[in-house]
């Protein structure tokens, strides 16, 4: 958002004007930005605030003498939040929290390694490169629900996975194997995404740098570690950040592949979904808000610790233009 305001300001500054002054510049910027801000307020701001408000209310669920639900929403303050951390629901929450974190750590780590590998292959010049590139991208093009069904078929008791292993593993039953199944399917599907973004990064790396390193006698591994990796780091970090935010919200893949209400693969979004399905929208909004906070925290830490500069490019170019 602010980046846009900067570049807009830059654009206005470039316009030849007799005596603009900083105030006029700002007013112009605000004017130019107002449609964007309005749309953002409508499609992002309002739903977030409505969700927060919803999480403070509970729908009447008591029954009167005739067995009818007593209608009406009631303001319950933070009850929806505190009840998440009590009794059975606390177990379910921490289980889902652990699952979500487990999926995030394992899948993103695997995807990064595989994705970078894919990008390196796609970057090589060889005969049939177009075919390889296209085929690597196929999993990413398949809708998640469909790939969930495909993997469900592969992982069923008499499916391809067990035939290849020569050993019967009950992948789709609630249990540890189900976690592994979800990780495999998720990595299969989303590694190409990291591959694609890293490939874009690789294409920005100037050839001379590699040639210079070669002349200096650096081995292939050294060239990768000291030249390629630092240069693709910005692209890689953005890719990893996007994947993390995405996998923290994971719902459809475990829901289709294993099913809902399965302890071993239940994620935080699935808990929110379950509450909403059973008409407790306040409680569902509370889960979603907690997840929102968790995602924001992870993203913030990631950006702080690793310095993923999502919008740095734009800022640098803005600075350059000013000079």
């Amino acid at each position: 958002m602010s980046t846009v305001s900067r570049s807009a300001a830059v654009r206005t500054a470039r316009k030849p004007r007799p005596s603009g002054g900083r105030r006029g510049e700002r007013r112009m910027a605000a004017l130019l930005l107002s449609p964007t801000l309005l749309v953002l307020a409508l499609v992002v701001g309002y739903p977030v605030l409505a969700g927060l408000r919803e999480s403070l209310y509970a729908r009447g669920n008591g029954l009167d003498a005739d067995g009818f639900v007593v209608q009406g929403d009631k303001f319950v303050g933070l009850d929806n939040y505190t009840s998440i951390f009590h009794g059975d629901r606390a177990d379910a929450f921490w289980n889902a929290f652990t699952n979500t974190t487990f999926f995030t750590v394992t899948t993103v780590a695997l995807e990064t390694v595989i994705g970078v590998g894919m990008a390196l292959i796609m970057h090589q010049a060889f005969r049939g490169r177009a075919v390889v590139r296209a085929s690597i991208l196929v999993p990413w093009a398949i809708p998640t629900a469909i790939s969930g069904l495909l993997w469900r078929w592969i992982f069923q008791a008499d499916g391809a996975a067990n035939a290849v292993l020569g050993h019967q593993v009950l992948w789709t039953a609630d249990g540890f194997a189900a976690k592994i199944a979800v990780v495999i399917a998720e990595v299969w599907k989303t590694s190409p995404f990291i591959g694609l973004l890293v490939l874009a990064g690789l294409q920005m790396v100037p050839r001379e740098v590699h040639e210079a390193a070669k002349v200096d006698g650096a081995s292939a591994l050294q060239r990768f570690g000291y030249v390629t990796l630092p240069l693709i780091k910005p692209a890689l970090l953005v890719a990893v950040l996007f994947r993390m935010l995405d996998v923290l919200r994971m719902f459809d893949l475990p829901a289709v592949l294993v099913g809902v209400n399965q302890k071993s693969v239940e994620t935080l979004t699935m808990l929110a979904w379950f509450e909403a399905t059973n008409l407790r929208y306040g409680s569902a909004a509370a889960y979603a808000t907690i997840l929102f906070g968790y995602i924001a925290l992870i993203a913030y830490l990631f950006v702080k610790l690793l310095g993923a500069d999502i919008i740095g490019e734009a800022r640098r170019s803005a600075k350059g233009a000013k000079r």
Partner: protein, 430 residues
């Protein structure tokens, strides 16, 4: 500046988690009129009909009632999605949905939330219907929905293998069933054939298996007043049966098999006894090579511990949305679709179990659907799943506890104690 940019970007990226969670009820109830008045066009809201028979029946109605046309609103295949859409419609108090095709377990929830119009019992003849099916349309003794189709589990068995083993009749008790398995296993043909299967994957099917196993022991998860009564010897014996059956008599992959998975297993000739719905009869009997057991199987009532077991009721009921227009037309349309003639046509076209008792005794139908006498007996003695307003929570709790016990992760005693606690909380408001 930098910090705000970063925080802003982070917030924007994380927003997607929240944006899906707006909405909700506004709580202000517009008192819907209870009277069945008004005539004119209505809608019929139902899951997909693949047989084409529904459209035929609607066309029949429409040509006879040019001023009271019925339009079909098709909902997704998944029962849960159908329920979601119907609830959303009710919460916005929209009159877009008229007659609703409800799963039998939704009646209590929809009725208690005043989403359905109470139906006058004296204006519809329910005496021809099987009484067990009529109960599924009632909530607190008032009628809210009229049964249009029913369903109940039966025991499918491999008649050819039993004959070879010299067994003349299907087993009536669990002990007989296990003994028959041993005899068949001793045959060369019995190699690679698993003994028994009822669904134990963690879905609604597990609730059904549990309710059947418990009912067979003479127990029930809720007592007569609707209070949870899980910690009883009957319930424990029922869950113990499922646990033992899974361990000793079911295929190893039983926990991964859903209804269709079970059907494929049986049709692959790998199963001697199977608890399954009637729809499998026609598919398993197909002689086009898709079924290896065509002509080799038969059906019988479910076995129990000391005699015949108890099936669980499935099926669908027709109800009128509380917010619908033209309720008089809607009520007539329900009478038309649940009438004997329409149900006969439906049975012939879709092989869905009717709710009209006389159809089961029709010799022409019994010839085409040889399982009808068994099914009638199953439905007559069937027990419903728990009738509770918060059915979604209750069935999830049942599935969780029973699944752990059946897979030996917790003891049966522990499971029933847990379940009693959960169900007590969930039904506390009732």
């Amino acid at each position: 500046m930098r910090r705000t940019i970063t925080a802003g970007a982070v917030t924007c990226l994380a927003l997607a988690a929240l944006t899906a969670c707006g909405g909700g009820g506004d709580g202000k109830a517009k008192a819907p009129s209870g009277a069945l008045d008004g005539r004119g066009p209505i809608t019929f809201v139902t899951g997909k009909d693949r047989s084409g028979n529904l459209q035929k029946q609607i066309d029949g109605w429409n040509s006879a009632h040019p001023k009271e046309q019925v339009r079909v609103v098709e909902l997704p295949d998944e029962p849960n999605d159908q329920r979601q859409q119907m609830i959303q419609n009710a919460q916005t108090k929209s009159d877009a949905y008229g007659v609703l095709n409800l799963d039998v377990v939704w009646t209590a929830e929809f009725a208690a939330n005043r989403w359905l119009t109470p139906l006058p019992k004296d204006q519809i003849d329910l005496s021809k219907m099987l009484p067990a099916t009529v109960t599924t349309g009632e909530y607190r003794e008032k009628l809210y929905a009229v049964p249009s189709t029913s369903d109940a589990g039966m025991l499918y068995y491999r008649k050819d293998l039993l004959d070879k083993a010299g067994i003349s009749a299907a087993p009536k008790t669990y002990a007989e069933m296990w003994a028959d398995c041993d005899k068949v296993k001793a045959l060369p043909e019995g190699k690679g054939v698993d003994c028994y299967f009822t669904e134990v994957n963690k879905t609604e099917s597990l609730t059904i298996s549990a309710v059947e196993a418990v009912a067979a022991q003479g127990g029930s998860l809720l007592d007569a007043s609707g209070k949870p009564a899980v910690n009883t010897p009957q319930v424990k014996a029922g869950i113990q049966f499922l646990a033992d059956a899974r361990k000793d008599h079911m295929p190893k992959e039983a926990v991964t098999l859903d209804t269709e998975g079970g059907r494929r297993y049986f049709q692959g000739g790998k199963l001697l006894f199977q608890r399954q719905w009637p729809y499998q009869y026609a598919l398993a009997g197909k002689s086009d090579g898709s079924s290896k057991v065509a002509g080799k199987f038969a059906v019988a009532p479910l076995p129990g511990p000391n005699g015949p077991g108890v099936a669980n009721l499935g099926g669908h009921n027709l109800a009128i949305s509380a917010f619908a227009k033209n309720k008089a037309t809607a009520f007539d349309f329900i009478k038309y679709l649940t009438g004997e003639q329409a149900q006969r046509a439906n049975l012939l076209a879709t092989s869905q179990a009717p709710t009209v008792a006389s159809l089961y005794d029709d010799p022409a139908l019994a010839k085409q659907f040889p399982y009808l006498p068994v099914l009638k007996q199953a439905i007559t003695t069937a027990k419903p799943r728990p009738v509770v307003v918060k059915y979604g929570d209750v069935t999830a709790a049942i599935q969780g506890s029973v699944y752990d016990a059946v897979n030996g992760r917790t003891s049966v005693d522990q499971a029933v104690t847990d379940l009693q606690g959960k169900l007590t909380t969930l039904t506390a408001a009732q």
